[in-house]
């Protein structure tokens, strides 16, 4: 499963919000941190707000705040908002339908897909924050906040 740019941006944003759930974080702060355009990020945050994962607070000191349950929200809950998770259709469109090679390749790709989905579904935001905390200290700062492209 290859994640799109918007999905990665959503994951980075949700982790930022979940790490400090009391704080209203301005979208511009996240846009600057991950070197993405504020306009692009606004679309992602609007989708997260529609899903009830964050809420928008207007005015001075406004921004976005985490509103989900860190022990229940999984990476998959975020991913499915931005990705089409339907099983991959056969790449070949011959008149005779999929060949045995198509079907065999599809079954291998499907195995990989199932494992990826199970992994994302089993990792909550609370677990992600634990992983981030464990990585802190050892990882260089550039790796902690990469530009998303």
């Amino acid at each position: 499963m290859r994640l799109q740019v918007n999905t990665m941006l959503a994951l980075y944003s949700v982790i930022e919000f979940a790490a400090d759930p009391q704080r209203h974080i301005p979208a511009a702060e996240i846009a600057e941190k991950y070197s993405v355009s504020p306009h692009h990020l606004a679309k992602v945050l609007a989708e997260l707000a529609r899903a009830g994962i964050v809420e928008s607070v207007r005015g001075v000191g406004g921004g976005y705040r985490f509103t989900a349950n860190v022990r229940r929200l999984t990476l998959m809950d975020v991913i499915h908002l931005f990705e089409d998770l339907a099983p991959p259709a056969s790449q070949r469109r011959d008149a005779g339908g999929p060949t045995p090679v198509d079907l065999a390749l599809e079954s291998v790709l499907s195995e990989i897909d199932h494992i990826a989905k199970a992994t994302f579904s089993s990792i909550t935001l609370a677990t992600m924050l634990q992983l981030v905390a464990r990585k802190k200290g050892g990882a260089p700062s550039e790796a902690a906040h990469p530009a998303i492209s």
């Binding site: 990792i123 677990t127 634990q130």
Partner: protein, 155 residues
Amino acid sequence: MTVRAVRRGDLDEVIAIDASVTGIEKRSYWQRVYRRYGIAARGEQRWFLVALAEGRVAGFLIGEVRDWEFGEPPCGWVFAIDIDPKARQAGIGSRLLESLSTSLRRAGVRKLRTLLSRENTLILSFFRSQGMTAAPMIPLEMDLLTDNAHVEPLR
């Protein structure tokens, strides 16, 4: 809450918790498991632990050390964990797992593993929250009853 080795008198509550979670009562299975893991002789490196809250069994865990499977050094395995649905979110699973981990460390074991269905996201999430990650191994299976399979009946 206390964690201790299972006793015969706990078995009915263990069976009831399992039945409430899985929807199937498996009394004879649990009696076999108790004989194998609940009354294991010292040094056999098997653990059948129960967590007691307010005098009742609120959860249980079963684990063991497995030696040299496919060349792997001795490794701890959890193969059952269940918490009474009414007693969840209280750290009982964490206490049970920590108790097993402590016993395994004392036995000189350096890894703890488990295996469960990828559909079981609740328990997968629990193990992830305890620090477990994907192991460097891949579970495999095959259908034994295919269209071409011919099974001779036992005589």
